[in-house]
C-alpha cells in the first residue's frame, strides 16, 4: 500500500557535505555502475555516442555560484539524489503501490514489476530525484544501495552506498538519523545540516552541510605568526660574514643607490 508508515524504526540516509565536495562526479559514476547491474532494470542510455546523449542516473551533481554583496563569488558543487523524505509525496500519489517507504529503515523504493510508468511520482517529487527509464518504461530512483548495505556477501567495509564508498573527498556520509549518537546525526548537529526546500513539507531525511565560512583578503591569516622571518639581524659568525661580504663591491643596496 502507498500509505506512508507513521514512523520508521531507522531513518537511513545520507549527509552531503557541500564544503568538501569537489564536484568530481565520481559518485555519479559509481552509482550508475553499481545500480545498472544490481537492483531492478539496468539504467539505460539513449544515443550515448550520438547527438544529445541522455540516460538514467540516480545521482547527479549540479554546480552553483553563491555571491554575497561585496564578497568574492564561491563555487558550490551540489550532489543530488533521493532524500528519502519522511513525508514522501512521491509514494502517496502512486496508483499501483509500486512506490513505497519501508517501515523498518525508511528507504523509499520502487517495486518495478508493479510500476506502470505513469510518471506521477516524478511529478510529485520536488527535487528531481526520480527518472523514468526510457528503455524499460519504469521509474528509477536511488535505492540507498539497499543491496549493498545489508549484503553479507560483501566485505564489511563495502556495506555502504556506492557513492559514499567512492567519494574521494569524504563528502558523503551514510547512517541512521534516528540514532542521535550516529555519525550522521552528530555531523548534522555540529555543522547545521539543512533540509532542501523545507517550505514544501517533505521532511527530507538526507541533510546538506553548508560550506564553512571562508576567510577574506582582508583577514589576517591564521598562519601569519609562523611565517615571520626567523632572524631579522644576523648574529655571531653570520654577522661577521655579512659585514665582510658587504665590503665587497656589487652589494645590492649600492647598486640600487639606496645608501
Amino acid at each position: 500500500m502507498t500509505d506512508l508508515p507513521t514512523s520508521t524504526e531507522k531513518k537511513l540516509g545520507l549527509v552531503i557535505d557541500l564544503d568538501t565536495c569537489v564536484g568530481c562526479h565520481a559518485c555519479v559514476i559509481s552509482c550508475k555502475g553499481w545500480n545498472t547491474e544490481n537492483y531492478g532494470a539496468p539504467l539505460s542510455d539513449q544515443r550515448p555516442y550520438g547527438e544529445e546523449p541522455m540516460g538514467t542516473f540516480l545521482n547527479r551533481v549540479h554546480s552553483y555560484e553563491v555571491k554575497a554583496e561585496g564578497q568574492v563569488a564561491q563555487t558550490v558543487h551540489f550532489p543530488k539524489s533521493c532524500l528519502h523524505c519522511e513525508n514522501a509525496p512521491c509514494v502517496t500519489v502512486c496508483p499501483t503501490g509500486a512506490s513505497y517507504k519501508r517501515q523498518e529503515d525508511g528507504i523509499v523504493l520502487v517495486n518495478e514489476s508493479s510500476c506502470i510508468g505513469c510518471g506521477l511520482c516524478a511529478w510529485a517529487c520536488p527535487y528531481g530525484a526520480r527518472e523514468l527509464d526510457q528503455a524499460e518504461g519504469v521509474m528509477k530512483k536511488c535505492t540507498l544501495c539497499v543491496d549493498r548495505i545489508y549484503n553479507e556477501n560483501l566485505p564489511e567495509v563495502d556495506r555502504e552506498p556506492a557513492c559514499v564508498r567512492t567519494c574521494p573527498a569524504g563528502a558523503r556520509h551514510f547512517g541512521d538519523f534516528a540514532d542521535p549518537e550516529s555519525h550522521v546525526s552528530k555531523l548534522t548537529a555540529e555543522r547545521g545540516g539543512m533540509d532542501l526546500m523545507p517550505e514544501l513539507g517533505t521532511a527530507p531525511v538526507n541533510k546538506y552541510l553548508p560550506p564553512r565560512v571562508k576567510d577574506s583578503w582582508d583577514d589576517e591569516s591564521v598562519l601569519a605568526p609562523f611565517l615571520e622571518p626567523v632572524a631579522q639581524e644576523p648574529k655571531g659568525f653570520m654577522s661577521w660574514l655579512d659585514k665582510q661580504l658587504s665590503r665587497l663591491p656589487g652589494d645590492v643596496k649600492e647598486m640600487e643607490g639606496a645608501e
Binding site: M1, T2, D3, L18, E51, M54, G55, T56, F57, R60, V61, H62, S63, Y64, E65, V66, K67, A68, E69, T75, V76, F78, K80, P89, V91, T92, V93, C94, P95, T96, G97, A98, S114, C115, I116, G117, C118, G119, L120, A122, W123, C125, P126, Y127, G128, E131, L132, Q134, E136, G137, M194, D195, L196, M197, E199, L200, G201, Y208, P210, P211
Partner: protein
C-alpha cells in the same frame, strides 16, 4: 511541464463526455429508445476514447489493472475506480432507457454524481501537486468541473443553460490564469531554498550535471511553448466560449450550428489544456536555473 498530446486529448474528451453523462443522468425527462442511443453513444465515445488515450503515455499499459488498488492515497487510482463505476452505472441506466424504455432514476443520479466525481478526481491529480504551484489550488478543480458541466450542457443541447455556463467557464478560466501567474513566486521556492544557500548570497546555476537535456528537463521544463501564451489564451477563450455563445445566441438552433459550436468549444478546451501544461512551472526547473 511537457504538454503530452495523450493527456490533452484525454482530459478534453473525457471531460466533455463525463459532463454529458452527468446531464443525461440528472435529466428528469430522459429520452428513450433511439433518441437516447444517439446521446449515450456520443457521451461514451468521448469518455471512453479519452480514457483509452490516457493509457498511451504509460510505460507499461499492460499492468494498468494494478492502478485500481491504491485508492486510499492516490488520486490517480481514485480516478480509475471512479471512472469504471461511473461508466458501468451509466451503462446500465442507458441500457434501461434504450432497450426497456425504462428510466431507473436512482441509477441515473448515482451515475451522474460518479461522472462528476471522475472529473473531480482528474482535477485533483493535478491540483494535489505542491511541486507545481500553478496547479496546486482548489480553483483547478473548479476549472475542470465548470468546463465539464458547460461542455456537457452544450453537447446535450441544453442551449440556455449552456450559454450561462460557457460564460461562467470563461470567468473561471480567467481567474485561474490570473492566480496562476503569481503562484510560483508566491510559494517562495527558489535556488536559495532549493540549495539551502540562499542566506549566504545570490545563488546562480553555473553548470548542469549533464550536457544535453535529460528526462527531467524534457518532462518538467517547457520554456519554448510559453512564447505565444498570451495569444493562445485569447484564442482559447474565443473558441471555448466566444464562438459557441455567438452561434447559439444569434442563429436558430440546428444540428449544423450545434456541431460547429461543439467543435469550436472542444478546440478551445484543448488549447486551454495545452496551456495548462505548457505554462506550468515545476520546482525541478529551479535546480537547472530555469522555470
Amino acid at each position: 511541464m511537457h504538454p503530452a498530446a495523450s493527456v490533452i486529448v484525454f482530459t478534453t474528451l473525457s471531460g466533455a463526455g463525463l459532463g454529458m453523462l452527468a446531464w443525461l443522468g440528472f435529466d428528469s425527462t430522459p429520452s428513450t429508445g433511439w433518441g437516447a442511443f444517439g446521446y449515450y453513444f456520443i457521451a461514451f465515445a468521448l469518455a471512453v476514447g479519452g480514457l483509452i488515450s490516457s493509457t498511451f503515455h504509460l510505460g507499461h499499459p499492460e499492468r494498468a489493472m494494478k492502478a485500481f488498488t491504491q485508492w486510499r492515497t492516490s488520486w490517480l487510482s481514485r480516478e480509475g475506480v471512479c471512472a469504471v463505476l461511473a461508466l458501468s452505472i451509466m451503462g446500465l441506466y442507458a441500457a434501461g432507457l434504450i432497450f426497456l424504455g425504462e428510466a431507473y432514476a436512482i441509477l441515473g443520479w448515482i451515475g451522474a454524481i460518479l461522472s462528476l466525481g471522475t472529473v473531480y478526481t482528474t482535477s485533483m491529480i493535478y491540483g494535489q501537486l505542491a511541486t507545481i504551484p500553478r496547479w496546486n489550488t482548489p480553483f483547478t478543480s473548479l476549472l475542470y468541473l465548470t468546463f465539464a458541466i458547460a461542455g456537457g450542457a452544450l453537447l446535450t443541447g441544453k442551449v440556455t443553460i449552456a450559454l450561462v455556463l460557457l460564460v461562467a467557464a470563461a470567468f473561471v478560466q480567467v481567474i485561474w490564469w490570473k492566480k496562476g501567474d503569481t503562484a510560483f513566486a508566491d510559494r517562495g521556492s527558489n535556488l536559495g531554498t532549493a540549495t539551502g544557500l540562499g542566506d549566504r548570497g545570490a545563488v546562480r546555476s553555473l553548470a548542469h550535471p549533464h550536457t544535453s537535456p535529460n528526462y527531467l528537463m524534457r518532462e518538467f521544463i517547457h520554456i519554448v511553448g510559453r512564447k505565444h501564451a498570451q495569444k493562445l489564451r485569447v484564442i482559447s477563450l474565443v473558441l471555448m466560449a466566444g464562438v459557441p455563445v455567438v452561434l447559439l445566441a444569434l442563429f436558430p438552433v440546428s444540428h449544423f450550428i450545434a456541431l460547429l459550436a461543439v467543435l469550436s468549444h472542444l478546440a478551445g478546451v484543448a488549447t486551454s489544456r495545452w496551456l495548462f501544461f505548457a505554462e506550468a512551472e515545476h520546482t525541478v526547473g529551479i535546480y537547472y536555473g530555469m522555470r
